[in-house]
Symmetry: C2
Subunit: 153 residues, 2 copies
Amino acid sequence: MEELKERIRREGRNLGRGILKVDSFINHQVDPILTMAVGQELARRFEGSPVTKVVTAEISGIAPAFTTAVALGVPVVYARKSKPITMPEEVYRETAPSHTKLRVVELFISPEVLGPEDRVLVVDDFLASGQKRRALKRSDIPRVDSISSVLVH
Amino acid sequence: MEELKERIRREGRNLGRGILKVDSFINHQVDPILTMAVGQELARRFEGSPVTKVVTAEISGIAPAFTTAVALGVPVVYARKSKPITMPEEVYRETAPSHTKLRVVELFISPEVLGPEDRVLVVDDFLASGQKRRALKRSDIPRVDSISSVLVH
C-alpha cells in the first residue's frame, strides 16, 4: 500500500531495537482517512475468504482491524490485555511478549463472542514482532484456522 | 439514537453496581455498522464546531471516537493508560478512577500530537462514570475548552 509506505517514510522515526515510532498517524494519533483506506485494502486481499469475525489485540491493532471489519461487514473482537469484570470466568487466554511494553502481556477473549462456527481474520498493526498474532493463532479458540495478516508484509 | 438504545435494551445486561454489560457490540465485540452510525450522529451534533482533534481514553472509547473522527475528517488521539517507550519524557498526564477495573488509571497524551491551537472533542463510551472524560478536561492540555460528549446522554 503505497500511501501507507510513503507516510511511514515521511513521518516514521527509527528508535532502534526494532521500534518504529509512528505515533503521529497510527498508534497515538490516528489518521482516520488513511486507516479507512488500510481497512479497504486488507478486506480486498481477503475477498472471497469465509471470514466471520476480525480479531485484534488491543490497542494499536484496533483501528485497522475496525476498518477491515467495516469493509468486510463483520464484527470485530478485541482480545483484551486485562480481564474486565464483565467477562465470564471461563475465557480463552494466551500470553505474548510486548515489544513496546518490554513485558509479557496476557490476551483474553470471551467464548461469548467467538464460537466453533467462526472463521477468524487476525489483524494487528505492523510494529511488533508478530508474537501477539502468533499467540492468537495458537490459542485454544475453536477452529481458528486463522487467515492472518499484518498491515505491511 | 434509537438504533443504539434498542440494541442496549435487547443485548445489554445489568450486572449491578452501575455496570452495564454490552460487550457483544460495544467493548469486546464491536458492531462496525452501528459504530459508524454512532460516529455520524456525534459528528452531526457538533457540526459547525471548530473541532481539530477527537480525543478518547483507550480502550472502549476508541471505536466511537474513531468513527466520529472519520465523520468530522479530523485525526483522533488516544489518551494512553500506560506510557509507551515511544512517548517523550514530558507528557500531559492525568488520573481517573476506572469503573470496570476497580482502580485508578493514568492517562497520557504526548504534546507532539496536541498543541495550543487545537480544539478538542472528547468522545468516550457511555458506560463509566464520566471520570475519565472529566480528567481529560481538567488536564493541563493547552486550551482544551473541550466540547465534550458521551455516546448516550
